[in-house]
């Protein structure tokens, strides 16, 4: 809400803001609601958008999780009939697509949206309306990808959709069309988000916060956004070629027409390998915040963590063909990509050493967040080591398309990315909602997830090396093998593990529900944290900080709370979070102009799924979608992102400030 306001004291009742738009922009008056659904749907507030990103991602986590459990149920017994071969293909394709594009990426975006502006001491992102547009675009893309379940069957070519599986012969339903267009739309969301967050980090930092004083989470998000910026256009090209092939009769990947099927593989993995780091680096960032806080030590080797993150991002561009060692690239290419892939283990190893050294000798506080963070370090290391075995090309050709690969990437993505996200939930929940998640339930949640995930994915190493192919939809007792290497036994173990994992996730949802009903308010600084996002109320006011802090140190908040005694050289507490926030309130900035809510982001975003449906079913519908997009762009262009002061009721007092409640 664009208002001129003076911050109200903590805990003051939220009054409705007396604002009415007096001018119109384009055809519509600005939305002004500060409560109810309109205050969410038309919001441009990075915090509300962050929460909505999180909610949507969590929804898709549950969807993807149900798909995973169905896959495991089908493999739980010989000659099982839970799923048909066709539905099984759709299930694993959509499981991976959902988890990668609709859970981990949006959840990382949720954390980035919420915490990057807070960590750098900004009041919002650089382009608040583009932020809202990105969110609604993601929703539209997610709907398109999943709509196919109800319209003739979902995509079934595997998440990397190799030709000829992506072609009409092997995928006659519209599933692949929905998949390609839906991911195209989520790609737009990621690209706009990347531009927005990079500009935010570079341009909106609080005074004094140089790049090397930024929190590590923000740093690694910056690397991730650069990866998105440059990787998304590559998948855009690939998806366009695929859509043109399926919808307009081109033959880009049709071998019978003389095409080269490796074209898709290259384009997909040029995007796909940076994508791997896009998925895991945000979690690395989260635990790089969590480990120091609960070890009561600064992060060991901050510059090494930052630069190894950047190095991972850079080298990540030169390793894509290790996904294609079995495709006959030729000895030179295989050797080059093999060496590059081994090289990327170095900066990753640097990070693991840094985390270990951070914990070393610290006063460890084993909270639920700390459990998940340490879980990540251990499980990701296991996944990283099996990853190095893929870098060795001769060994990889034995492992390609077996369950060993499935084991590897679930250790890095579940044990790495998802454990990091859960560490983030437990660590930042009191910041976002003002209430702490239950620690006992959290630890139970952790242990069930650790046991579940190791039971599910651990045995896959064995059955993979024994030769069980990835994506095999059925197995028979007669051919399962004997003794320790009986495929049937280990498949059952994995299925039981997946159920334990499910119970673990359910405990988290129960924890969320219980916390939401609880009346217990979290302390202002429950973890004795170190970074700027804790230097404001929980949840933060709409303008984040009453007074923008001036930054002098890495871990600024810690340095404001603690100081070294000049005689004894002991670190002593000199101030509390409450003091610091109260001090900010007393010296609050006047004339805080926040960007105004807008109808245009959601209208613009709503045009894209219409275009997608039109491409699949009838071109006139696509034209309707395009008209929506063009009109929305004009409306957007003519509307200033921050309403001028004349757009609102005149100020109540002489000095131009108006007593307004914190809006939320």
């Amino acid at each position: 809400m664009a208002i001129i306001e003076r911050p109200a004291p903590v805990g003051a009742p939220a009054l409705p803001a007396p604002v009415t738009p007096t001018r119109t922009y384009g055809a519509l008056r600005r939305p002004v609601a500060t409560t109810g659904w309109k205050s969410w749907v038309f919001t441009v507030d990075h915090k509300k958008l962050g929460i909505m990103y999180g909610a949507v991602a969590m929804f898709f986590f549950i969807v993807g999780g149900i798909e995973a459990v169905l896959i495991r149920l089908q493999l739980a017994a010989p000659d099982n009939k839970v799923l048909t071969a066709d539905v099984y293909n759709q299930m694993f394709t959509m499981h991976a697509t959902t988890m990668v594009f609709l859970f981990v990426m949006p959840m990382a975006a949720a954390f980035a949206n919420y915490f990057v502006p807070l960590q750098i001491g900004a009041r919002d992102v650089a382009f608040p309306r583009i932020n809202a547009f990105g969110f609604w675009t993601l929703v539209g893309g997610g709907i398109i990808v999943n709509l196919s379940w109800f319209l003739g069957g979902a995509a079934d070519g595997g998440w990397f959709m190799y030709a000829p599986n992506s072609g009409p012969v092997f995928s006659p339903s519209n599933g692949v069309d929905f998949w390609a267009l839906g991911l195209q739309i989520t790609g737009i969301a990621s690209l706009t988000g990347a531009v927005n967050l990079i500009v935010t980090v570079l341009n909106m930092r609080a005074p004094g916060m140089s790049l090397m004083k930024m929190p590590v989470f923000t740093w690694l998000q910056l690397v991730v956004q650069f990866l998105l910026l440059f990787a998304i256009p590559v998948i855009t090209v690939a998806l366009f070629l695929l859509s043109f092939q399926r919808s307009f009769g081109a033959t880009f990947f049709d071998v019978s027409a003389g095409a080269d099927p490796l074209l898709w593989q290259h384009l997909f993995w040029i995007f796909g390998h940076p994508e791997v780091y896009i998925l895991v680096l945000p979690s690395f960032g989260i635990i790089s915040e969590v480990l120091p806080v609960f070890s009561k030590k600064p992060l060991f080797g901050y510059p090494f963590v930052v630069f190894s993150g950047a190095a991972i991002g850079f080298v990540g561009w030169g390793v894509w063909a290790h996904h294609m060692f079995a495709s006959g690239l030729g000895p030179v290419s295989v050797a080059v990509f093999s060496i590059a892939t081994m090289a990327i283990a170095v900066p990753t190893g640097v990070k693991i050493i840094n985390w270990t050294m951070t914990i070393w000798g610290g006063k460890l506080n084993f909270t639920a967040a700390m459990h998940f963070a340490i879980g990540l370090v251990v499980l990701f290391t296991i996944g990283g080591l099996s990853g190095v075995t893929h870098a060795v090309a001769p060994s990889d050709t034995q492992q390609t398309d077996t369950y060993y690969i499935v084991a590897h990437f679930h250790y890095v993505l579940f044990g790495g990315a998802i454990f990091g996200l859960f560490a983030g939930f437990y660590y930042w929940w009191p910041k976002v909602f003002g209430k702490q998640l239950n620690e006992r339930l959290g630890k139970a949640n952790f242990w069930l997830m650790v046991i579940g995930m190791n039971l599910t994915f651990g045995p896959m190493h064995m059955i993979g090396l024994q030769g069980q192919p990835r994506r095999m939809y059925i197995w028979t007792e007669a051919r399962a093998g004997e003794g320790l290497f009986n495929l049937g036994f280990w498949n059952r173990v994995a299925s039981i593990g997946s159920l334990i994992l499910t119970v673990g996730v359910l405990l988290f949802l129960i924890n969320v529900w219980k916390t939401a009903r609880s009346k217990q308010v979290a302390p202002l600084d429950p973890w004795d944290a170190r970074t700027l996002e804790w230097m404001t109320t929980s949840p933060p006011k709409e303008h984040n900080f009453d007074a923008i802090p001036t930054v002098r140190h890495l871990d600024e908040f810690f340095h404001r709370k603690y100081a070294q005694d000049s005689v004894t050289h002991e670190i002593k507490q000199v101030s509390t979070a409450e003091d610091i926030v109260r001090d900010q309130e007393a010296n609050a900035d006047k004339h805080i102009h926040m960007p105004s809510p807008s109808y245009w982001p959601i209208i613009l975003a709503s045009g894209l799924p219409v275009i997608a449906l039109g491409v699949i079913y009838a071109i006139p519908v696509a034209i309707v979608g395009a008209v929506i997009v063009v009109l929305a762009l004009f409306g957007w262009s003519l509307e200033p992102s921050t309403a001028p002061e004349t757009d609102f009721d005149p100020p109540a007092s002489e000095d131009g400030t108006k007593e307004l409640a914190p809006l939320g």
Partner: protein, 200 residues
């Protein structure tokens, strides 16, 4: 997304780097576009020799004609830069004049492309005739769509300036559209050489 970045009404220049948010966003977007056109050009490079039963590149290209339209697009970069200079001098008449000229030159280029595509189609090169055809039309089509979007932005901007409805810094909005326009031009510099002048 182009338009959203271009017309985004953020103004005020007190930022950590001292640079405008909009301009930084635009350059990031253009950096990203390099990867998009790189992918399309590489696809064309792999498929340009796969003509199947259809015509070969050398048979359908009309180099003198395309040279003229390339020249038109190149000169539109000059008029664009004059529009930006006029906008920075707050010369609204000059700005709208040069923006209009740029838009018309761009429209001429698009018209030339439509004519070229029609001629090629009549010579037997359809979108689905061969891999060469599909890749060629996809690459040049993407570029053509970019030019068309640019023309719409230029002419809309003329109307918006005439009605004094520009949100934010007028000179910066013109400059941002200019950056996009020049980018479209440099992509064509590459396409003209790699696709048209260097034979298979």
């Amino acid at each position: 997304m182009v338009d959203t970045a271009v017309h985004h009404a953020e103004y005020g220049h007190h930022t950590s780097t001292g640079l405008s948010n909009n301009k930084l966003g635009m350059w990031l977007f253009l950096g990203s576009e390099c990867l998009l056109f790189g992918g399309l050009i590489s696809t064309y490079m792999i498929y340009r020799g796969r003509v199947g039963e259809g015509p070969r590149p050398g048979n359908v290209f009309d180099i003198p004609f395309t040279s003229v339209s390339s020249f038109v697009l190149l000169m539109s970069s000059l008029t664009m830069v004059l529009a930006v200079a006029a906008a920075q001098k707050r010369d609204d008449r000059g700005t709208t004049l040069w923006l209009t000229v740029t838009g018309l030159l761009g429209a001429t280029f698009v018209g030339g492309q439509v004519y070229e595509f029609t001629a090629m189609y009549n010579e037997g090169l359809g979108f689905t005739t061969s891999l060469f055809g599909s890749a060629f039309y996809t690459l040049t089509g993407f570029h053509g769509v970019h030019v068309t979007v640019g023309v719409i932005m230029l002419l809309s901007l003329v109307g918006i300036i005439k009605r004094s409805r520009v949100p934010g810094d007028k000179a910066e909005v013109v400059e941002l559209v200019g950056l996009y326009w020049h980018f479209v031009d440099i992509v064509w510099i590459i396409i003209f050489t790699l696709v048209y002048l260097i034979p298979t």
